[in-house]
Amino acid sequence: MPPALELRGITKRFGNILALDNVDFSVPAGSVTALVGENGAGKTTLVGIAAGAVRPDSGEINAGGETLALSRPLDALSRGVGLVYQHTRLVDDLSCAENVALGVPPSRCGIISRDKLSEKVSQLFDRLRLDRGPDELLASLTLPERQKVEIARLLYRGVKILLLDEPTALLLPQETEELFTVLREEASRGAAIVFVTHRLEEVFKIAERIVVLRAGCKVGQRKVSETTPDEIAVMMVGEVEAEPRLKAGLFEEEMPIPLLENATVIRRGERVARLKDFTLEVFPGAIHGVAGVAGNGQDEIFDLLAGVISPSRGRVMVKPGEIARVPGDRFRQGGIPDFTLSENVELAHGDIRSGFILNRAGAALVAKKVIGDLDVKNAGPETLYGSLSGGNAQKFLVGRELAKHGTPVTCLFNPTRGIDFASRAYLHSRIRAISGAVLLISYDLEELLELSDTITVLYRGESRGTFARGEIPRQSLASLMTGGGA
């Protein structure tokens, strides 16, 4: 069968950085192809080019037997190529159906036919196993549901080649399974699916073919039936580092550091509390995890500790200056994309900008140290933060907080979300080595189980209990997180 989508000789530079170097990439119809690689390997750039969102410097794109104009999203869409972004790009204030038909509503003489649209959208939602009505407001949907709306939007436009950029980064295991079921069905209907991910176990569950990128080059491609996770891992990073030793358990004799005391958060204009009577304490030298499905009060815990919001009731027991923080959103909370790394150090380190004169030289030194210390690739103190790949940005943020002095508590919110496993393993080893108390809020249960000495389960803004390592099986934790019993 001829490939549904074929990219030939794609080269792309961003400034001095060679993001893609003469990459060939083809996708057959009726199958799932996984695109894997470290952060900064060029995966996102490659699918962006295929979808017409990024203009390559050279190369050729063929879809459905025709050559596509470069860098024309509409052209790509009209040839049946569509991309589901890592963060969905939908409009909260519109209904599901309106989001699906965004830009191309069924209309006659400029009048939108709502019945026809609703019917079509309902059919698509059934096919994608999305249990929502076409008239429901998008704002009420959960993340996995939004993803399906995004997929429906592309199918509505007749997309046959579906590109998904890290679709599972923020999903729970069960939600991931559901997404895979839907994707397999679409593949069996003849769609060509490209799946970008870092999680190798997923690749082997869903994909038939694996394409590996490393530092902008295609390292190779394998059929899943003819390879092993170990081989793919070696292709991705060269060789896998040995896991560092686990930190010792909780020190019973240490005094706990209280963070929150019966804190309740009710957001303006809302009646239901996002966080209810929540008490939180951490121990020096130990990692305390907060487990939960996204949107169950994690943002509120972080915002309280960051001093961005104040509790409606209860107390925050630490000042923002006493707690090093890595926020959940790298580019909208962690750092200013238009600022250099050095300036982003100035931003976060209160002591550097507390005097009358800004300590620029000090900031540049810290930036340099962080870059070297955490192996932030292709970067210097004058590099713009926004030009870093996700994994490198995350390394920078973690390093920047580790370089702070006089902060007995370090709070990390999804510190390894959407980054490659080599960086992830590396960051995990660094987190384990933090000598003070660590609060780890994460949507990733594997990460929590790997790192935490104690775990509090969060559900609908309330604690469902705190457990020590090994005290409770994984299944029970997952059940508590989703509202079930232990």
Binding site: P327, G334, T340, G350, R353
Partner: protein, 352 residues
């Protein structure tokens, strides 16, 4: 952004862009002159003679540029923090009124009275800026709306106060300030001009070295990230708009103490609104504010000569000024032309 080895490159690039915009503005103005049946060269010659032809015209140009330096700096200062201080005109009036009032105090020594008048004028105008910031921070009211509204309120309020103070309902200006409050000067150029230049240097040093400037810039670049990184965004906004207002107030004080010696309702001469244009063309760079304000002053003063020599309307200079502002605002237009110019030049070099 504004440091390191790229600094000079950026400067050169910005200067090239502004030059292109200026040439476009001159061409557009030329078309209007031609339409009026005159030679553009004669017209531009008249403007230059009007602005620099004699010491008197030169000093007038400098005096016209001085308030624009203050207001241009003021607008740029707030803009760095992402705040659009459209209330500058009102703040100039507040500064002017308070300067006229303090200037009428019976304090014998100018050494005491003049600094006092400047400081209180700046404080009053800064308070207007603080009100705008407070409305924004506390109630989420856009400073663009409150700035315009406050201008209208202040404009009428001061006119009324001026009449009450003068004691006659038909008064068109306030009672004169004391002679001790007159700004000293040389050859028709008073010390307000030197104060404006000192402010330029102060703001330049402030932006380059201080933590406060960094925080303002961070809030302007991304207030959400700044909040998450522990910057008190509300406080920074109060600071930026307060200082911006204070600098606008200096423009009013300098006009009253140096030129009109009384409060007049049209004391500002539109310096508040033009300050926005100055900052825009100067790309919020404090050093660039000086030549841009001077250029605007040349056009303003030279326009009179246009009427005298060629019987052309002085509005021509307004056309040039506004075309310049429009061309600069079209942010993608001038970089595009600059790029074309660069490729042409490199091709020439390649051919040679």
């Amino acid at each position: 952004m504004m440091r390191g080895g790229k600094n000079r490159e950026d400067w050169k690039h910005a200067a090239l862009e502004v030059s292109i915009a200026f040439i476009i503005a001159l061409l557009v103005g030329g078309v209007f002159v031609l339409a009026a049946g005159r030679s553009p060269f004669a017209a531009y010659g008249a403007i230059l003679r009007g602005a620099f032809g004699s010491w008197i015209s030169f000093s007038r140009t400098i005096l016209a540029a001085t308030p624009l330096v203050f207001t241009g700096l003021a607008f740029a200062f707030a803009m760095r923090g992402g705040l659009f201080n459209i209330g500058i005109e009102g703040q100039v009036l507040a500064g002017a009124f308070v300067a006229a009032w303090v200037g009428s105090w019976p304090v014998g020594s100018g050494l005491l009275l003049i600094p006092l008048a400047f400081i209180l004028a700046a404080a009053a105008a800064g308070a207007v800026g603080l009100v705008m910031a407070l409305l924004r921070v506390r109630f989420g009211a856009s400073e663009v709306i409150t700035g315009i509204m406050l201008f209208h309120i202040l404009n009428i309020l001061f006119e009324w106060l001026m009449r009450v103070w003068a004691g006659t309902p038909g008064a068109y200006k306030s009672p004169p300030i004391a002679a001790a409050a007159h700004l000293p000067g040389v050859g028709g150029i008073h010390i307000g001009c030197a104060i404006a230049l000192a402010m330029v240097i102060l703001v330049f040093l402030y932006e380059r070295y201080t933590s406060a400037a960094f925080k303002v810039r961070a809030v302007g670049a991304d207030s959400n990230v700044s909040r998450y990184q522990g910057i008190n965004v509300g406080k920074v906004m109060l600071f930026a708009l307060g200082v911006s207002g204070a600098m606008a107030g200096l423009a009013g004080a300098s006009r009253v103490l140096g030129e009109s010696f009384a409060y007049l309702p049209d004391i500002s001469g539109g310096a508040g609104w033009l300050g926005i244009a100055v900052a825009l063309v100067a790309r919020n760079n404090p050093l660039a504010v000086v030549p841009v304000a001077l250029l605007f002053g040349v056009l303003k003063v030279g326009g009179f000569w246009l009427e005298q020599e060629l019987a052309l309307s002085s509005d021509l200079t307004l056309i040039i000024t506004m075309t310049l502002v429009l061309t600069i605002s079209a942010r993608r237009l001038t970089p595009m032309l600059a790029r074309i110019l660069k490729t042409l030049r490199s091709q020439e070099r390649g051919a040679a």
